[in-house]
Amino acid sequence: MLKSKNGMKDGLLNSVKAGPPALLELSSKITALVVDDNTLNQTIHHRLLDNLGIQNQVVGNGKEAVDVHCSGKNFDLILMDMDMPVMNGIEATRKLRTMGIRSLIAGVSARSTEKEKQEFIEAGLDDYQEKPLTTTKLASILHKVKKDG
């Protein structure tokens, strides 16, 4: 069984190891932004990423996600919720793409109709996962993250 950086057994990492061997090393170099207004989801998604050694930041709505990018920060991965106050995930995704942000944006939403999902995808997503987010779903997203250098 793979061991985490802390030298502890970590079943989570086995889901990550299912991909290319480089993925485990890659996850420790990836940075991520969690965009969700629900504090419970913020906690869980932050911990999911943390446990994989992924440095991550959490914001509470789409506008904060845009603002953090305007401040000069950039992330390899953005986990974007759909329903949020102030600016929802669809608007935020469109705005970030318009700004030239090329990060991998994965929509993570509890919405399940095809129409809602399609609208979100068409806003500029690279991936879409239904909540709740699990380690398997996160591993699937991480496989798509490309790291230059």
Binding site: M8, L12, N38, L40, N41, I44, N51, D83, A110, P132
Partner: protein, 150 residues
């Protein structure tokens, strides 16, 4: 304390929460995120859930007291509760949320009222059972630490 080192009575108590259909796989996902640095992660998540949703329950109850019912608003509130409930694996509460939303879509007042009463019972019952489980788990961790050879 890893799950496979839990005392038997705790293992059985935990299993009963799944056997009764109260929890689903997502709870296990959260347990996998616990380690020595975050030994109480699941309990923290559950505590946060009940803190965040208690106000929502009150809001829904108040909304159900208005006439005529605003089904769109009620559906929106229940969507939030369902999302939070599914995040930590509260299977039965989530199912009640789904049923409530179906009654909202159908404009069924009685169905909404009845389902909400059921939901409140499940919500409170799960809280009691999880609090009892976490208390035992904490005691088991302390006992386990105390009896570890030096």
């Amino acid at each position: 304390m890893e799950r496979n080192h839990l005392p038997r009575h705790l293992v059985l108590q935990r299993q009963s929460l799944f056997d009764q259909g109260l929890l689903d796989e997502q709870f296990i996902q959260l347990e996998e995120l616990q380690d020595d640095a975050n030994p109480n992660f699941v309990e923290e998540v559950v505590t946060s859930y009940y803190q965040n949703t208690s106000t929502l329950i009150v809001i829904i109850e108040q909304a159900l007291g208005t006439s005529p019912l605003d089904f769109n608003k009620l559906d929106g509130y229940m969507y939030q509760l369902k999302g939070s409930s599914s995040s930590f694996g509260a299977k039965k509460v989530k199912a009640d949320c789904t049923l409530f939303r179906e009654y909202c879509k159908a404009g069924n007042v009685e169905g909404c009222m009845r389902t909400f009463q059921q939901l409140k019972k499940e919500y409170a019952s799960l809280k009691r059972k999880l609090e009892a489980y976490f208390q035992l788990a904490r005691q088991a961790r302390v006992t386990g630490t105390a009896s570890r050879p030096k």
